[in-house]
Structures are given as structure tokens and as C-alpha cells.
Amino acid sequence: MIIDMYAAGIAAVFGLLGIGLYGLMTLRNLIKVILSLQIIGKAAVLAVVVAGSISGEIAIAQSMAASVIVADTLVAVIGLALAVQMQRCHGSLDLRTLSMKFHTPPEAENGG
């Protein structure tokens, strides 16, 4: 029964990691990119706890998972704040639009 639990945990880690990577590669909206990072962070937390549970070091795994949760939440907070400023300053959250805007040479912007 406990092996089934580990198998479910490993399947969850791989599934969440795959969904997060797929989202990072396909999505162009900044909010959705942060959301994909959150999904990958959940996969990381689960991976640490599953590894700790398998090796019998669940307390160490939990303390490390706490660090992962803190870092993941801070990434979301700072990423969302940056997205708000991007929307205010440039009027867009589309990654392609933003990269085109940042890589346009000044001569082209001035019409010369």
C-alpha cells in the first residue's frame, strides 16, 4: 500500500513537471507563465517530500520543502508585481509584444 503511495507521488511529480514545462514553452501571457512556474514549484515540493519519505528522512525533507514553498511564493509575488508594472508602463502582458518593444532600435522608434 505504501509503495502505491510512492508511485502516486512520483506520478504526480512527473505529471506536474510536464504540465509546467509545457505551459512555460507555449504560453505568452506573463500571468500564465508565473502560473506555470507555480505548478513546477509544486512538483518540486512533492519531489522533495516523496524522496524524504522513501529514504526515511521525512523531517529533513519537510524543512527543505518549507524553503521551496517560501522561495516559490516569493517568485510569484515579485513576478506578479513586475507584471503589474509591465501592464502599467507598456500596456501589454504578451511576451512577444514586450520583447519586440524592448528590442526595437531607437532609430526605428524615432522614424529615422
Binding site: K32, S36, I39, K42, A65, V84, Q85, Q87
Partner: protein, 162 residues
Amino acid sequence: MLSVAAVLVMLFSALLSISVRWLLTAALWLAVTSAGAAALLYMLGAHEIAVIEFSVGTGLVPVLFVFAMSLMGRTSSMPTPIIPRTAAGGLALLCLVLLGLTLLPINTAGQDKVPITFSQILWQDRSLDMLVQIVLIFAGIISVLNILRRTDAEPPGIRHDH
């Protein structure tokens, strides 16, 4: 059986959160993903982390997403992807296969160790890490306050003579 149900709920809601058009709905599906992850963590024996994940992932993070969306005034977006979906799916699958080949099979030896409590590890062995995390949280709060500050004042050096 419960663990399999939690995994299915988690994967289904994660898939919905990246595929729905409305950002608010996506944030709510992310909260459901966190709830499933918390349930699985509890079943794996990580009770404290399950509670933290449930309160942070289901309570705090979706509220932050909704707050950011209300500040931006944008709630939907579905542009065409940068990488074609089939190529992205193939690359993600390749990453998972390589990771699986590296990690599996998992050695389950060493489960009969002397148990140490979570609080003992957290507050004694990793006390420096806890201190750094507290500093990190405050640094994050200060950064966000600085990023979100409206700079209505003119930059120095610009004068208007009326």
C-alpha cells in the same frame, strides 16, 4: 486509492489552469491543484508541510493573483503560442523521460532510521536557513513595495518655467 484520486484531481486542475482562457478561472484551478498537492503531502506523512502548502497555495497565492488582475484590469488572454504545441509537448515529454531514466528505479532502503521531529530539524539544525528565509521574506516585501510604487514625481533635472 485516495492518493490516486488526489493525483488525478491535481493533474486535471493543473492542466485546466494553463489551458483556460480566463485568468481568474486559471487562478482558481491553481488553488485546486494546491489543495490536491496538500492532500497528497498529508498522505505521504508530511503533515506540517501539507498545512503550509494548503494555507499558502490555496489561500495566499490565488488572492495575490486576483489582486494583481484587479490592478491590471485584464482577465483574459489566449494568444498563439511561441513554440508549436506539438513541439512543446514533445520537448516536455523528452525532459520527463530523461529525468525518469536518471532517477528511477528508486532505492527504498534506509527507511528504518531513528525518527527526528520536524521542529527539531527546523529550529536547531537548519536555524540559519530559517533566518535567511525570514530575511528573504522581508526583502521580497520591500521589493514589491518598491516595484508597485507609483512614480508620479518628475525626475530631477527637469524644470518647467511658467
